[in-house]
Symmetry: C2
Subunit: 452 residues, 2 copies
Amino acid sequence: MAGRTKFILDESDMPTAWYNIVPDLPAPPPPPLHPGTGEPIGPEDLAPLFPQALIEQEVSTERYIPIPEEVQEVYRLWRPSPLFRAHRLEKALGTPARIYYKYEGVSPVGSHKPNTAVPQAYYNAREGVSLLTTETGAGQWGSALAFACAQFGLECEVWQVRASYDQKPYRKMMMETFGATVHPSPSDLTEAGKAILAAHPDSTGSLGIAISEAVEKAAANPEARYALGSVLNHVLLHQTIIGEEALRQFEMAGDTPDVIVGCAGGGSNLGGLVFPFLREKLAGKIAPEIRAVEPEACPSLTRGKYAYDFGDTAGLTPLLKMHTLGHDFIPDPIHAGGLRYHGMSPLLSHIVELGLVDAVAIGQNECFAAGVRFARAEGIIPSPEPTHALAECVREALRCKETGEEKVILTALCGHAHLDLPAYASYLAGGMVDRELTDAELSAALETIPAR
Amino acid sequence: MAGRTKFILDESDMPTAWYNIVPDLPAPPPPPLHPGTGEPIGPEDLAPLFPQALIEQEVSTERYIPIPEEVQEVYRLWRPSPLFRAHRLEKALGTPARIYYKYEGVSPVGSHKPNTAVPQAYYNAREGVSLLTTETGAGQWGSALAFACAQFGLECEVWQVRASYDQKPYRKMMMETFGATVHPSPSDLTEAGKAILAAHPDSTGSLGIAISEAVEKAAANPEARYALGSVLNHVLLHQTIIGEEALRQFEMAGDTPDVIVGCAGGGSNLGGLVFPFLREKLAGKIAPEIRAVEPEACPSLTRGKYAYDFGDTAGLTPLLKMHTLGHDFIPDPIHAGGLRYHGMSPLLSHIVELGLVDAVAIGQNECFAAGVRFARAEGIIPSPEPTHALAECVREALRCKETGEEKVILTALCGHAHLDLPAYASYLAGGMVDRELTDAELSAALETIPAR
């Protein structure tokens, strides 16, 4: 017998606080700036978009923030999530490495996104908000927010990037089953959308455009607020329950990761898994290498600029110091819709700059090859986003096969592909395009970053 | 706090034997008959279709059959599966009843089907078979067998009922991702399919037709065997791991079910959950009512005849004593593809005749209403098949609300609807048809049952 397959915490052992890495960092992250004054923004600048509780979490310097009991109750529908040892993948690869994956696809919508959607809906409902607006790429975030709004009696309105809306119609059906309203983006329902459509009538959209639309609608309605599925500090904070659980599960396994790999689009999946491990690393207790994987088509960490830029395409958000490709950069419509974002979490960007996390970019054909390999060995078909991390795991495991090293690899399997199966159909039919961003495209994109 | 949400067994507590109810029944089930001679069939009649190990299980009178270690290893990718207490649904219904659901959607393909697909693939591979053929309705069974074949290096060829093939294209993509080949049924690849297409060029297919096609192809190829996803004794045997786990989980919960409700198409989901509970009931230890729920469009238990009939449309199988609507009955293309079967497991039929299980038929609009209600409360969107059981749970819970009874209700939530979302879209758009089978249609269908 190959040994234990799953490490499962009892629900009574579910973490009861989120971890805020900010006070443990050697330097604080640069603040968001007001685009007009160039000064750091204050809570009042965010009040039209977010409830007070989330604004406080966004700027908090407390190390631990308690998870409200009402949120824990909903989390228990699927949490704690399992940590798997990938015995069958190891065998298929013939590697001496030990591969673990923390699997978030057990959530109602099949990804890690409800970890933050649920508290966001909870705090908004508690402060009397009646409608949340948001953007979504592949639809994981939109369906998570739709589910969370159903739990707390909120209405939910979602702008979904047109490329994904057309490629993956099932996500819209899921959002509607939970009671949400879904629009393709760019839409003619907002000024931001209309402007894009006027310039590019066939636009396949981008997360940046969809954010502009959702922000515009929320700001115009005093009963409404906006919810973001990644990038911001409070979002990464909520996702740290992943890493807190994984730390306890590695104790159960009696093992310690040498390499931790996660895909990074806005950064919440990677941040959520690794921040608790980084706490232990900064305290000198463990020493894992930590690696972000992004698509070659949207390489903000590996080829972007670390600079102040807008979070959205229309320039409605504060300026955020982050790795960015320029706020009106529109990536090719690759299947990993959740990784098609021009920027990166400012907190994660800062941590990359501190040298605590490194990054690599991989093309989608290699990623889907790893996804199919994983599916046939482990049974779970990974969503396109974490196939990026799996591709890097496979590379690492095969390096170990050559060197004989018995490295312990941990990856964030942040979702399954049940609603992304057309991406696999395209890959299996040989129809998937791999196109690296050219230097000329990159230079042109970077020029749109505002000068400061 | 509302109390525990999930009851999870450690993987070291996973049952290591399947339970065979046959020796515990007050009378043995009637044997399958050879259609030519009218005599009970022998193992040699089944050998062209099934490996020896499964034929032995089909006729076994042992109470417990050990689960091979190689099968347990694959089971551990998702088993033991969780038992949930539906606190949020209870609250939404305002019922004093306590509702539990045993959730099989955690499997790689999202249903209970891999519980039997894995051992079937294992025994076939052990006996040197290289290709398995099968039929599938909604696609749950086909994808389960595709996954299982990938685990043991077998090829897999699936005939999918045309209605589901067209309505739910994602299932085909999943089967192909696991490496299987998929054909819509009726197809022009078999004599059985060609005959149907000649008579009904627009046929939407049925499980009975698809079985004929898969059986015909397996019988013609000595390297191939056929795999059935429900109906037969060995299939129900493998599914009893569900009920064995649930019994242990009710011990953890310190509770006992008063009513157990499951949907029944071929009968393996219901049989798998309830046979271990029936063992305890027959031993006088517990006394739950057990209820099968079927669609009004395909009411084999509630309106069919208990008689010897063919398992498939073309009449290639042995004659099985079961509740049947006639072997060439083609039900309306309702969304619960897994419940569109003209017959019923002979073992379950026998148990119904013994008075140990009763049955009810419900129309699909009421079922989907229950499915949406469940999804918005519990997060999981149930596949169309178990919405039938949920509709009956909702009826029971609302009866309890009237009477004040604190009944304990257990239901088999045998799968999620990620790949059946178009069914929900159709329901939400108000476009779902509820059509009860007329008496004239029923009489005509029953006339095709062979006289004996």
